[in-house]
């Protein structure tokens, strides 16, 4: 419960700081400033490391990124961090036989997907936390029942496509990485993999928003903030192309 309250406080704080003006967290990527100086920015969420520069210039702030992963989706496609490089994605954790919050969580994520289904700049990634049961046919069936025909747009992925003995350990580590990265208090009780949280990840693997899928206001906030992130990514790409 404490963790839940903390997460909700964090979500509220993220909402307050979202869309702040230029300069917010921009130290993370100084090279982006020229391209995105006039854009609203979502906050960078999670741990940060300040690294002095050898040339004596202003220190760089380096934000946590999603750790390296290797998954397989319902189409048998292997997914790594590289698969999502250069694009935003929304991530969550679920399992096919979940009788509790998962149906509602995936239903809310479906609303977000529906809004952005035709936008190739954003994809969706749902990780099963039951890799022993949710094999590729189960994931395919789950996707089909949700109405997702194109696995490239919404990946339902497993860490255990080849019967890996540590598949479940791996996906729980990954869940902690997604959501502890968004939460400084690591002593808070668990629930990372099953708390209904949606994470918005940018083109460089940074978490830029966390949203409670069980709260319609939070889901609306995700729908509102996704274009802000997409505009930032577009500006970054234009800036890189212009250099």
């Amino acid at each position: 419960m404490l963790k839940r309250l903390f997460l909700l406080s964090l979500l509220a704080a993220a909402g307050l700081t979202a869309c702040s003006g230029p300069g917010t967290n921009s130290a993370a990527h100084p090279a982006d400033d020229a391209a995105g100086a006039s854009l609203a920015r979502l906050p960078y969420i999670g741990e940060r490391d300040v690294r002095p520069r050898a040339d004596g210039g202003p220190a760089d702030t380096v934000y946590a990124t999603i750790p390296a992963f290797r998954l397989t989706d319902q189409a048998g496609q292997v997914l790594t961090n590289h698969t999502f490089a250069g694009r935003a994605y929304v991530a969550d954790f679920f399992f096919a036989t979940c009788p509790g919050i998962c149906p509602k969580m995936q239903g809310e994520l479906l609303k977000v997907y529906t809004k952005f289904a035709a936008d190739p700049r954003v994809t969706f990634l749902s990780h099963t936390i039951d890799p022993g049961h949710d094999n590729l046919p189960v994931l395919r069936d789950y996707a089909q029942r949700l109405g997702i025909a194109d696995a490239r747009r919404w990946h339902f992925a497993t860490t255990g496509a080849h019967g890996e003995a540590t598949a479940k350990d791996t996906v729980f580590q990954l869940a902690r990485a997604y959501f502890t990265a968004a939460e400084p208090n690591k002593l808070a009780p668990g629930g990372y993999a099953h708390n209904g949280t949606l994470a918005l990840v940018d083109d460089q693997g940074h978490i830029r928003g966390v949203y409670d899928s069980l709260n319609p206001t939070e889901v609306a906030r995700l729908i509102e903030q996704l274009p802000v992130l997409l505009a930032e990514i577009d500006a970054r790409k234009k800036g890189a192309a212009g250099r």
Binding site: I101, P103, G132, G147, F172, G190, H194
Partner: protein, 144 residues
Amino acid sequence: MALLAPGLAVLAACSSPNRPVAENGQPSPATAAEMNLLARHDSLMAKEDQLFSLKAEINASHSPAAGPYLRGLAAADAAMMGWMHAYKAPDSAATPAVRLAYYQQQQQVLAGVSRQFRATMDSAALFISQHPEPAAPAAPIPSK
């Protein structure tokens, strides 16, 4: 969009803790029993994170005595997932009495899983406190 409609219909048909409160404001006994059951399920699923954290800590201890504790945690996890895979909520055509009986019976099963979680996790936590993770080797002191 047409493709999404069937999916939405399926989702709407799924059980959910936020579902079914009678229009007069009070859930029926069967619905209340279902909500209590799913609340216990969600609570146990939150503990799954802790279970896997404990497992990772025990593995990191590299203790030869870790086996029984790892097997205990694995058994608790298997019990939870086994319950989930076997759970089949009665359909809406079932009588209220049948639904209530099923949820009450499942509540008893899940109470057993809950006790198993508590016992194995308490044991694992005690083991970890007695077998802390070995400290990383200190950096060699440069010789003068």
